[in-house]
């Protein structure tokens, strides 16, 4: 079996979805760590942002990130379509088998992955337009003043609410995503799998709450 054919199989596809998803999650962790510098003040945040965007390697990183995103989207959408095709005649009455016993991981999160993924993509476009391609303020040192931009954006309660909802949606996506990725990689043991599922959920809540904290913090600080 050629590698290309293997990666197009149902298992290979899920492997790629899991791998790209894992990279995107790691990106989120890094992104959050950088964002939290906002709380240390204007200089720390702006200098960090400047160091990041003035580094020529940023283009490579951005290109890689876009490629990972596109692969994740391509694989999930084609898989979603193929899965729908695998059951052309729907059931008249279908219940979650979860009601039968507890041997199912099905949640509202796991049934809405394609929807929460789509919303995340729409959020991403808005997010980039608001910040990366948003108004350009400059500090007295002549670097981009993203600190000021963040205050400007989150002085609007509408933006704060939008970001909170978006972070909820991403958290919802990861709630199933992280442990599902582990299963797709074939990581499993009777002892560790339940802990792994919960660890994934703890990470999910930590990352979503971390991101949700920033709009609120900025809004409140802007008021004072």
């Amino acid at each position: 079996m050629t590698l290309q054919k293997a990666l197009s199989s149902s298992i290979g596809s899920k492997f790629l979805i899991a791998l790209t998803g894992l990279f995107l999650f790691l990106f989120l962790v890094g992104h959050l760590a950088g964002n939290l510098l906002f709380m240390l003040g204007a200089d720390a945040f702006n200098n960090y942002a400047h160091a990041l965007i003035s580094n020529p390697l940023i283009l490579v990183a951005e290109g890689g990130l876009i490629a990972i995103f596109l692969l994740h989207i391509f694989k999930t959408v084609t898989m979603f379509v193929a899965n729908r095709r695998a059951r052309p005649d729907r059931y008249a009455a279908k219940k979650w088998a979860k009601t039968k016993n507890d041997r199912s991981r099905k949640t509202l999160s796991s049934t809405t992955m394609i929807l929460t993924g789509t919303i995340t993509l729409l959020f991403l476009v808005t997010h980039l337009a608001t910040f990366k391609y948003g108004p350009y303020y400059e500090t007295t040192e002549g670097i981009r003043d993203l600190y000021r931009l963040q205050f400007a954006v989150f002085s609007n309660p509408g933006y704060v609410a939008f970001y909170l909802v978006a972070m909820g949606v991403i958290g919802f996506h990861l709630w199933h995503g992280i442990s599902s990725a582990a299963q797709s990689f074939g990581v499993d043991s009777p002892r560790w799998t339940p802990r792994l599922i919960w660890t994934g959920r703890v990470f999910t809540v930590a990352v979503s709450l971390g991101f949700a904290l920033l709009p609120i913090y900025t809004f409140v600080m802007g008021r004072n």
Partner: protein, 245 residues
Amino acid sequence: MVVKLKVWRQAGPGQPGKLVDYVADKVHPDMSFLEMLDVVNEGLIRKGDDPIAFDSDCREGICGSCGVVIDGIPHGPDKGATTCQVHMRRFKNGDTITIEPFRARAFPVLKDLVVNRSAFDRIIAAGGYVSMNVGGAPDANSLPIAKAMADQAMDSAQCIGCGACVAACKNAAAHLFTSAKISHLGVLPQGEPERDRRVVRMVEQMDREGFGSCSNEGECEAVCPKKISISNIARMNRDFLRAIV
């Protein structure tokens, strides 16, 4: 007791079907679900109507022939039980019960509640075997196998190939079936030499049959009459990834 039924009736493959209402009276709570259908069918035959077609054979939960979706759950409400092991005492007098066939593109309806599960046979034929010269029966314990491994193989080998996993899965995926059939050979020394080839061929055939892919929800495990664990699917994923690199 009396129950109302909504049963999927379909004259043949590819033909349109619909849910038809029936009333089953004189149902005894100790009847099995299939006995209840037998009684309904006797009534239909007496009236000169076409009886409801459904699969069954052993009626003791070991052959894997029976299988319908009862009120939205493959094999009905009981844990670790096949359709033939469900009893009417599970329902209340006056209940309406919806009965549908297992639905998947790879399981085309032949008639009413009977589906064609030959796709499973073709997955087995693609690699679900060990190639060896069989002489006389070997001495017991001539090939030492750890108890834990033997248990694991036995747990996977319990799969009766009923197809409830496919029926329950939102993607109509056959990963639980295929992985059980791969694991019960793969964890034993006799299955080891063909382990890579087996997983690749069986997964290829599974995809070719038009089953969906696994969303790791575990609904299959929840309905499995033999409680086969999705750990088998993780092992299949591992074996497949190992085999292709």
